[in-house]
Symmetry: C2
Amino acid sequence: MIGQTDEFSLIARYFAPLSKGYAGALALTDDAAFVMPEPGKVLVVSTDTIVEGVHFLPGTPAGSVAMKLARVSLSDLAAKGAKPFAALLNAVLPRARDAAWIVAFSDGLKQDFDRFELTLIGGDTVSTPGPLCLSLTVLGWADVGRTPHRSGAKSGDDVWVSGAIGDGGAGLLAARGGSGSAYLLDRYRHPQPRLALGAAIAGLVTAAMDVSDGLIQDLGHICKASGLGAEIAAGSIPLSPDFKQTGLSAVEAATMGDDYELLFTAAPDRADVLLAAAARSGVDITRIGRMIDGAGVRCLDALGNDVTPVRTGWRHFD
Amino acid sequence: MIGQTDEFSLIARYFAPLSKGYAGALALTDDAAFVMPEPGKVLVVSTDTIVEGVHFLPGTPAGSVAMKLARVSLSDLAAKGAKPFAALLNAVLPRARDAAWIVAFSDGLKQDFDRFELTLIGGDTVSTPGPLCLSLTVLGWADVGRTPHRSGAKSGDDVWVSGAIGDGGAGLLAARGGSGSAYLLDRYRHPQPRLALGAAIAGLVTAAMDVSDGLIQDLGHICKASGLGAEIAAGSIPLSPDFKQTGLSAVEAATMGDDYELLFTAAPDRADVLLAAAARSGVDITRIGRMIDGAGVRCLDALGNDVTPVRTGWRHFD
């Protein structure tokens, strides 16, 4: 039980090893971290919070919790074409949490920090009478002028998405039911931030974001920020073989969220160079629709019928 | 009740107004924020988390919660000589929280962001079945080479502290008891980050940090990081008139925490220039002891007796 130790020992034992290799982290022994700017680069910062019982099910392996936390944050940097280098962790830990949980959590975080070349440069570790709650703030560098926002889409642009949609949501259903495809469960627990793809397409796209709340809802954010509408073809939404076996539809896939794929818009004449960039990054991309004058997202079936669902994605306070 | 709205409306209504004036915040409508480096400056980053019922009492006015959150984070930047410019807010909100609470919280935050010239550039807003939990990550710029760490103290250095010690802790006792000095309660709820003092002395000191967990415990961190010990005179610890009326002792003051004063070390020949810098910053500073060879902090009374308490400060998982 971590109630038998103190936060300084916790930090020194479990988190300081993740701070190696970055002088400005000061081995997590100081009150602040120091980041020297890189010439010609803009700092890109994103932060995500996950709460046990809200963002992940109680009983999820601690290593998987760590990886999900790291990857949902890194996915935001991927969408902005940034290369991540550092992170800060705010860990709000129940006093009764087993020390074995912390060991497995920090092991999982270490694996991902090694995998994605991240250094832990700071954070805060506190106790709570409530559920476990974790925030990760990630820092990356991007080339000035090559950081796609949500607001840059133009009417007539193609709408693209990476990978396959719906796997994460179907994986969550599998986790809740205690059974289902191991592939989908893995996609839910261990999403792949599309960092190489994001960096490769950053200078080619007009808008980009990652799909976390649901494809249709997230495309709605690009529409709103860009002052446009969008039409997507339900039949063109990329689905994995395992997803298809669940019996869920493409429209359902587009509302479930937890995809952490990249959603982006680009002029139609960029299609070939985008496909080539995606191939070099080892990730499929699929054209699913286009940006139009107007507002909101319409999802059409093969006959042109509007099959847009009423509930387009996850909201916290519904 | 915020359960009737969604996080996008919450962010747009209550938090986006705090993002004005910083282009890289993108009005909190994007997944990430963008920070352009300042030539010759190092980025200083610090983050703090507070949990209702742990770091502040349930029933604390929401505006005071916001100000405490902002100031405990800014205090860390003050200790490093940095000028804050931006912050990210991770808000973990109980679904049943009254909307009036959010209004008062965001009002308090807005007041402090105006006061300390901060812009909200990002964050995450999520729901929880547990207690309210808030993290603020603050970013500041400091001059390269003028960022004191904990580890730079030298044997023979003077130990200094700003302001008065114990007011915050006594204010907490007053808040718990439901009565007591309004001055102490205000010092507990609304600590003053010593930003001007921190910037003025950054190039003069050998080590600096803020006092948050207790003067003796925090000086112990400087000792450990610097490989030294320290001796302080209980009688020299600066106490406010209101604190003295509580009947608490100077040694108790030095263990209670919540001070958010600056604790720093400097060569004895810097005393005059430090006192002048403090006078220009409008904050008193007091020499309370010196760094010595050895380890740990010893607190001595006027007769030279060791009056170091066993419990030197706050720990989360005791």
